[in-house]
């Protein structure tokens, strides 16, 4: 990766990932996977258009793909609720993850959401519970999980699909505890200070590598993924190829302990008196 991009502030990256024409999972899936077979529904309530999932081949290996969908047009956005899943979306993702576990397929999660949807129905159907269960059960899933943040990784809604053996981010992607806008309005009571918030929140791929939240940065085409989606898809494929090779050879205990410890070790605290 070139250094100019490394030093790019988060607020500039916000512009890039919001560029109209930035590829979404609907663009990437046919470029990266073969014979994608889509599956629908959580078997409990309904199908959530914000989560797309199914089975496909990746270079001849059957994999389960679970993706958060952003729309490219207004119609697509209505269908996928602007990429903000409801509880049934997380339950659908978890159903497909357990299906992958049963058939010993690795899971590839493609993450791109501002956050889980905040609404009356989402609360009634237990948005909190759906995310909590997703986190807990992905942690114990007995098959490799690779997550890739393509654009926005917003809050618990993204984390629900980022409990994985390896997390990668596209070089302009962000991953944050809340959107920069939400951060600014909560802490400074002023949503307009969004760009300023983005720049102090440590949300770029480089920041997250140094915080040990992200393991790999995937290059985008020059100027951002929208300039050459095919090229960016190629970079993503190269990463998935290496990540699968690394993770498919792990034993079960090594894999599950590794996944647990990825999160167990994150946190900065001190103990002023040694433990008795």
């Amino acid at each position: 990766m070139n250094n100019a991009n490394n030093a790019m502030p988060a607020s500039k990256k916000l512009d890039i990932i919001r560029t109209i024409g930035r590829p979404t999972v609907r663009d990437y899936i046919p470029m990266i996977f073969d014979d994608f077979f889509e599956m629908h529904g959580d078997r409990q309530f309904r199908d959530d258009g914000a989560i797309l999932g199914g089975v496909a081949y990746f270079k001849g290996v059957p994999v389960t793909v679970i993706a958060q969908v952003k729309g490219r047009t207004l119609d697509e956005n209505k269908q996928c609720n602007f990429g903000m899943p409801h509880p049934e979306g997380y339950r659908k993702a978890l159903r497909l993850a357990h299906q992958a576990e049963k058939f010993h397929r690795p899971v590839i999660c493609l993450v791109d959401t501002a956050g889980a949807f905040c609404g009356v129905d989402a609360e009634k159907r237990g948005q909190g519970e759906a995310i909590a269960r997703s986190i807990m059960e992905f942690m114990e899933l007995k098959t490799p999980v690779i997550s890739i943040i393509l654009g926005e990784g917003g809050s618990g809604g993204a984390l629900a699909m980022c409990v994985c053996d390896e997390l990668a981010m596209l070089e302009n992607a962000i991953y944050s505890v809340i959107s920069p806008r939400g951060f600014a309005s909560i802490l400074w009571k002023n949503a307009e200070r969004e760009r300023e918030a983005a720049d102090i929140m440590h949300i770029t791929a480089d920041d997250l590598v140094s915080l040990k939240v992200c393991d790999h940065i995937i290059k985008e085409s020059e100027g951002g993924a929208h300039t050459d989606p095919e090229q960016t898809a190629e970079y993503i494929s190269e990463y998935i190829f290496e990540a699968l090779k690394r993770n498919l050879q792990k034993g079960l205990d090594e894999m599950l302990n590794g996944r647990y410890n990825r999160f167990r070790t994150i946190g900065e605290f001190e103990e002023t008196v040694p433990q008795a």
Binding site: C118, G126, Q127, I131, A132, G156, S176, G182, E271
Partner: protein, 296 residues
């Protein structure tokens, strides 16, 4: 409206309802601390009567917030607490301006080191690991210390084969710790999962307010989920949702009763019955006595 503008309304909620230290009844001329104004039914009660009633609104039965010390006092056996990780304090993982200073002030003011107390204790003689969150400390938001102490408490309980009882209260993730606070959701949920896989009991008691990243992690993962009457339980902030749908939500939205009706809470238990309810549930989860169901 841009989708993210929904967040612009969050500030009202945080100012009026969930400020770090201001009582909710800030809009009156009566001196602070003399009157309790119920956030659910707006009834005014003299603080003395309210306190004598166990900090429960005498009109609508809203169960108000307790400090961790008050909670422990009415829950566990006297002097049974052996506290874990008493001296743990947070660093400043994303170098957030003034975070260290704010924490030092709060430690001074509240006597707490952070927003959770963990330890082992007994309830009517039954051994447990207990977790109590305290909303007086940064609205019990979850940062590194809260996450680490809770994960350690679950790991201790797993190792020593003890049940866990968690009294939750939280405004959600601790914004000042950025992504590190989000990761605590995975850390705590992972530790709950291991405790659960060991066949051990976890009871959560949702108290006012249980929201955001805590609702979306360990608070929602109990084998049994209890709530106190009328408390606020939810994922997203009420005003964020009101901003989305452009109308006012009914008063009982995101209440304990709302969660019970929608199937996310097992039972609502009044404060005065909590200790005996927990003791009863702990007993119910012990193996049947030898010789039960025998023909003799």
């Amino acid at each position: 409206m841009q989708l993210e503008d929904l967040f612009s309304v969050v500030k009202t909620r945080f100012n009026n309802e969930f400020g770090d230290s201001e009582p909710r009844h800030g809009k009156t001329d009566i001196p602070k601390g003399l009157i309790f104004k119920c956030p659910r039914c707006s009834n005014n009660t003299f603080m003395e009567d309210f306190t004598a009633n166990g900090k429960v609104c005498p009109r609508c039965n809203y169960h108000s917030r307790l400090t961790a010390a008050e909670r422990l006092d009415i829950t566990i056996d006297k002097e049974s607490l052996v506290e874990f990780d008493k001296e743990m304090i947070s660093k400043n993982p994303i170098d957030f301006p003034d975070y260290g200073k704010k924490q030092a002030e709060l430690r001074e003011k509240t006597g707490l080191k952070d927003a959770v107390i963990t330890g082992r204790a007994t309830i009517r003689g039954e051994k447990i690991v207990i977790i109590v969150m305290d909303s007086n400390y940064m609205m019990a938001s979850m940062g590194s210390v809260v996450g680490e102490k809770i994960a350690r408490a679950f790991e201790y309980a797993t190792e020593h084969r003890l049940p866990v009882i968690a009294f939750t209260a939280s405004g959600g993730a601790r914004m000042q710790e950025g992504i590190v606070s989000l990761m605590q959701m995975a850390k705590t949920s992972g530790a709950v999962g291991r405790h659960s896989n060991a066949g051990l009991l976890y009871i959560t008691v949702l108290t006012d307010p249980t929201t955001g990243g805590v609702t979306a992690s360990f608070a929602s993962l109990g084998d049994i989920i209890i709530a106190e009457p009328k408390v606020l339980i939810g994922f997203a902030g009420r005003r964020v949702i009101e901003g989305t749908i452009k109308q006012k939500l009914p008063d009982d939205f995101q209440s304990a009763e709302f969660m019970l009706e929608n199937g996310f809470v097992d039972m609502i238990v009044e404060r005065k019955k909590m200790r005996r309810t927990l003791a009863h549930l702990l007993k119910l989860h012990k193996p049947a006595p030898k010789g039960a169901l025998s023909d003799e």
